[in-house]
């Protein structure tokens, strides 16, 4: 794991977010959040860059390119670019470490918003 800079326990965070495991570097989104809204993460106010539907992911801390994405304390992919705390984490900035998806979001009408 390359999250050695970011191992401090998570402080206060927005109630619309869920931390699934103390080692995670992403939050689950419990209730939809609009682009541009301000979020409290670890005592700091950050702005969400894109709409985050229910069940989407938001960076809990800054994530370096090449760093593993941890959800449920498990690796669910790798960042293919730098991701700033509070940004949406999805198919545009992370990839599978197994098999690339054949689909990307944004081409279909979003039902859940």
């Amino acid at each position: 794991m390359t999250n050695k800079n970011n191992t401090a326990p998570m402080g206060e965070y927005d109630p619309r977010l869920i931390l699934l495991d103390p080692n995670d570097n992403i939050f689950g989104v419990a209730r939809p959040i609009r682009a541009g809204e301000m979020l409290m993460i670890d005592g700091e106010l950050v702005q969400l860059d894109q709409q985050a539907g229910m069940g989407f992911k938001i960076a809990a801390r800054n994530i370096e390119q090449g760093e593993h994405i941890l959800k449920y304390g498990a690796v669910i992919g790798v960042a293919n670019q730098h991701i700033t705390k509070g940004q949406l984490v999805h198919v545009h900035n992370i990839e599978s470490t197994y098999m690339a998806n054949t689909v990307t979001t944004g081409t279909r009408k979003e039902v859940i918003s």
Partner: protein, 396 residues
């Protein structure tokens, strides 16, 4: 719970008549016979292919002798490759009423339909008299699947089913989770939960096989709707799906049609063995449900985020809806609203308990939503498997 006692000692929570087409050419006649009896428990299952297939043969044998099945009508065109006489013998050996109607021999559609309807009418009369006996948790087999998954599936419905699975295993039931193609990335976690190191190896190998299979096909088991719902990678989807298995020790690895030898938690390996031959392992959720049922599942727990509506032939499907917005739109199709966890209206344990209580009621004859709406989906396609090795069932 109450069950219908079968000659092999298993008990069924339903007592249905299956009308089985043995090739697509006989499907219409089978459907016409069954439709005459709606909404009674007369259900159509079948295999469409004309070429014989060992997997399809053994699946059909397991399905027609499933404890929820009371009588079996086989409908053949006459020239197809399916070994109908072997299937008939296997069913007859269990003491179930079974009849074969061959359309070419009976003189066509009309005559076969008439004969089929008369036969089914008689069976329904007889099944009405069937006594029930008390059924214990240790006699129950529960399968689980997720479909139409989104980012909420792994937060609510799947872990809630996991809590229910832990309770079922504690009560002595056999629980089956599956879809090794959607457990890619979970193999190190699963290996730690295996009953023996040899089983751990088998579990890891089954996932590696799935990864290779999907690699050849060029697609992971990841649909556009998964990404629209917030899932980003196959391993993220996998980790969410994996939560359905709960936290119990994994007692064994089985393949479609293998019946768990005792209570405990089992992984069902649904990806064919050998070279890639017949296309995608499971083209749709119901193919997996059918395999869980062939392993003896009395009831299926189905977690859905985007909103699947399917049920199944033979065994009732309990729909656990992960997403509270989906639930609002499709409440009529859903048995459990696990999405209320996200609204802070219930905990995972509470929804887990709700699932356990509901399964007990379904075991007592209460209809699930998909049963009430008449869903009896069924699909069976070509596959090939090698038998499981001795390391797969260490306690057996």
């Amino acid at each position: 719970m109450k069950g219908y006692l079968r000659s092999d000692g298993r008990k069924g929570i339903r007592n249905i008549v299956t009308v089985v087409y043995l090739v697509e050419c006989a499907h219409h006649v089978a459907r016409q016979v069954a439709q005459r009896f709606a909404p009674q428990d007369v259900q159509v299952i079948g295999f469409p292919g004309c070429y014989p297939n060992e997997y399809a043969q053994s699946m059909m044998e397991r399905l027609c002798t499933h404890p929820n099945v009371g009588a079996v009508l086989l409908v053949s065109l006459g020239c197809e490759g399916f070994n109908k006489l072997k299937l008939k013998d296997v069913v007859a050996e269990t003491g179930r009423p079974v009849e074969v109607l061959t359309i070419q021999g009976e003189g066509g559609t009309g005559k076969t339909m008439q004969k089929g309807i008369e036969w089914v009418e008689q069976q329904l009369q007889d099944l009405k008299e069937a006594p029930t006996v008390e059924m214990d948790w240790s006699e129950l087999v529960v399968g689980t699947i997720c479909g139409g998954s989104d980012g909420t599936s792994g937060l609510t419905a799947n872990p809630a089913i996991g809590r229910a699975f832990d309770q079922f295993v504690d009560k002595g039931a056999a629980c089956i989770f599956e879809e090794t193609g959607e457990l890619i990335g979970c193999e190190p976690h699963m290996a730690k939960r295996a009953a023996t190191p040899e089983l751990a190896k088998e579990l890891v190998q089954s996932i590696e096989k799935a990864a290779r299979y999907y690699e050849v096909l060029g697609y992971p088991s990841f649909a556009p709707g998964n990404a629209d719902g917030g899932l980003s990678t196959i391993e993220e989807k996998s980790m969410g799906a994996y939560a359905k298995s709960g936290a119990s020790t994994i007692s064994g690895l089985i393949k479609p049609g293998d019946i768990p030898p005792s209570g405990g938690l089992y992984l069902l390996d649904v990806v064919p063995d050998g070279e890639v031959r017949f296309g995608f392992p499971n083209i749709v959720d119901n193919a997996e449900i059918v395999e869980l049922i062939a392993c003896g599942s009395h009831v299926i727990l189905f977690a859905t985020g985007r909103g699947s509506v399917v049920g199944s032939a033979i065994s009732p499907v309990v729909k656990v809806c992960a997403n509270p917005l989906t639930y609002k739109r499709m409440a009529d199709d859903m048995d459990v609203n696990a999405g209320k966890i996200l609204d802070n209206e219930a905990s995972l344990d509470e929804v887990g308990q709700e699932i356990v209580d509901l399964v007990a009621q379904v075991g007592d004859g209460e209809m699930t939503r998909s049963e009430a709406l008449g869903h009896t989906e069924f699909i069976l396609t070509y596959k090939s498997f090698e038998p499981i090795g001795p390391a797969c069932l260490p306690a057996a």
